[in-house]
Symmetry: C2
Subunit: 234 residues, 2 copies
Amino acid sequence: MAGQRTRRRIPEATVARLPVYLRILSEQFDIDVTKISSEELADLAGVNAAKVRKDLSYLGSYGTRGVGYEVEFLVYQIRRELGLTHDWPVVIVGSGNMGQALAGYNGFGDRGFTVGGIVDIDDAKVGTVVGGVRVRHVSELTRVVAAQNISIGVIATPGIAAQDAADALVAAGVTSILNFAPTVINVPHGISVGKVDLAVELQILAYHEQRRINAAKGSSLVSVPGESRRGASA
Amino acid sequence: MAGQRTRRRIPEATVARLPVYLRILSEQFDIDVTKISSEELADLAGVNAAKVRKDLSYLGSYGTRGVGYEVEFLVYQIRRELGLTHDWPVVIVGSGNMGQALAGYNGFGDRGFTVGGIVDIDDAKVGTVVGGVRVRHVSELTRVVAAQNISIGVIATPGIAAQDAADALVAAGVTSILNFAPTVINVPHGISVGKVDLAVELQILAYHEQRRINAAKGSSLVSVPGESRRGASA
DNA sequence: GAACGTTTGTGCACGGTTTCACAAGACGTC
DNA sequence: GACGTCTTGTGAAACCGTGCACAAACGTTC
Ligand SMILES: NC(=O)c1ccc[n+]([C@@H]2O[C@H](COP(=O)([O-])OP(=O)(O)OC[C@H]3O[C@@H](n4cnc5c(N)ncnc54)[C@H](O)[C@@H]3O)[C@@H](O)[C@H]2O)c1
Ligand SMILES: NC(=O)c1ccc[n+]([C@@H]2O[C@H](COP(=O)([O-])OP(=O)(O)OC[C@H]3O[C@@H](n4cnc5c(N)ncnc54)[C@H](O)[C@@H]3O)[C@@H](O)[C@H]2O)c1
């Protein structure tokens, strides 16, 4: 029962939702909610109840029929599955607007991530302190990564330097990268890459706006069909 | 031929990739590349060539067999489909670290989005100028939105205020929202919502790290299986 | 301890997405 | 203008994710 051996592979779509459940469950725990049904959790997460149950079933059979899930236990299980039972130090490459905002962001360390280091290529930035951490030169990246056993890197350099940053991170031993630059980066097989691209998100929204306009033009008296996306509901 | 009538619905997965193609094609155009094959574009975008062709086929038959696609024409077609033939003014709610970084971000207006306004609830912030725009009080949101005919809003408030911000944006007439706060927001049907959640992205990476560690523990001499995600290649 | 209401866990069908594989079409060459 | 090479555009198959529907299990009440 304790420590299951057969590591089920959890679908990527589920992995992407677990952090959302985790945040909600943590909030509920903080306001002394001890039990929660898939229906309630689904409402709070803006998804379907069956989806919640299926997602949670990948962790194991941790609910009680007729009752629901114990919030605290579920928090623990999700944290365990996501590898959040210990803190993850993160190294930020690029100490510009974005890098500084990230380093100074409280919600960052809030849930298990700490800023283990910041590096920049600009000597003017090196030595400055952001978010309580001193900026080091990018040439020290390997040392910074090794010293704190860092496995996650964040790229906050201009797009043109993103591939260099990725190469440097990989060379330093980092195995997961979160890329804020609007550039596709190439990494060796076995390295995980996540990206956050503001322009892409805005352009997706622009597309939907555009469609609304076109639909309205087509038949000027029909109300817009409407299109709800991720995170939206009723 | 000009202005097709039957507005095909483009799959959401394709819509999310078009901005990436667009950026790459624009870059290629800037360095005087006039023609490109699905294979080349696929390499640059880090995806499968068949996927590129299928994606582009939703726009129409704009390639030439045996030759490829004309870069400039494709740029125009994608821009048209995404509704980027004109600029979109955006209103930012919350002028903290994030809101200021966004307002001051060049790559923002770079591709068709301009900061049409910034509002905050804090009187200390009101009146300050960020990114060349004066911060107004949130009570003026409706006026700001109406004055510039804004349809896209960005939420950069703390999570606790995100729902209020969303409500205010919807009441002001905004129909698309990009949410940076780590909170699920509820909006009426017909409003599009996109989200950027740093913590979720990091937790997904932590999960993969965790799996690597578990896999290595399971059989200490076998090399890690590795898991490449969005935007990764080779 | 049986009956009842509640909620989980999951089989199954469906729809969307990805990838393969190949016919159709364009261009260049002789 | 016939042939060879190249690349698109797209059926069709495989895969993944979603949501319904319901049996199984739990707690409560009488
Ligand atoms: N500012 C925003 O709101 C925002 C939003 C979305 C995306 N982004 C993206 O985030 C990235 C950073 O944006 P920013 O506004 O912070 O830019 P910035 O110019 O303020 O900062 C970039 C920093 O990276 C450093 N740098 C450059 N090359 C480097 C290298 N090879 N190694 C290490 N450091 C290097 C620079 O010295 C600079 O300090 C950009 O790619 C941008 O497109 C920014
Ligand atoms: N800073 C980061 O790097 C970062 C990264 C990812 C996500 N985020 C998220 O972005 C959001 C903003 O982060 P931040 O670091 O800028 O926080 P911040 O505290 O620096 O800024 C928040 C701003 O919102 C304003 N505000 C509060 N309630 C408001 C309301 N009802 N209407 C209008 N304005 C209101 C505040 O006055 C403040 O100026 C947060 O939800 C945070 O979780 C921040």
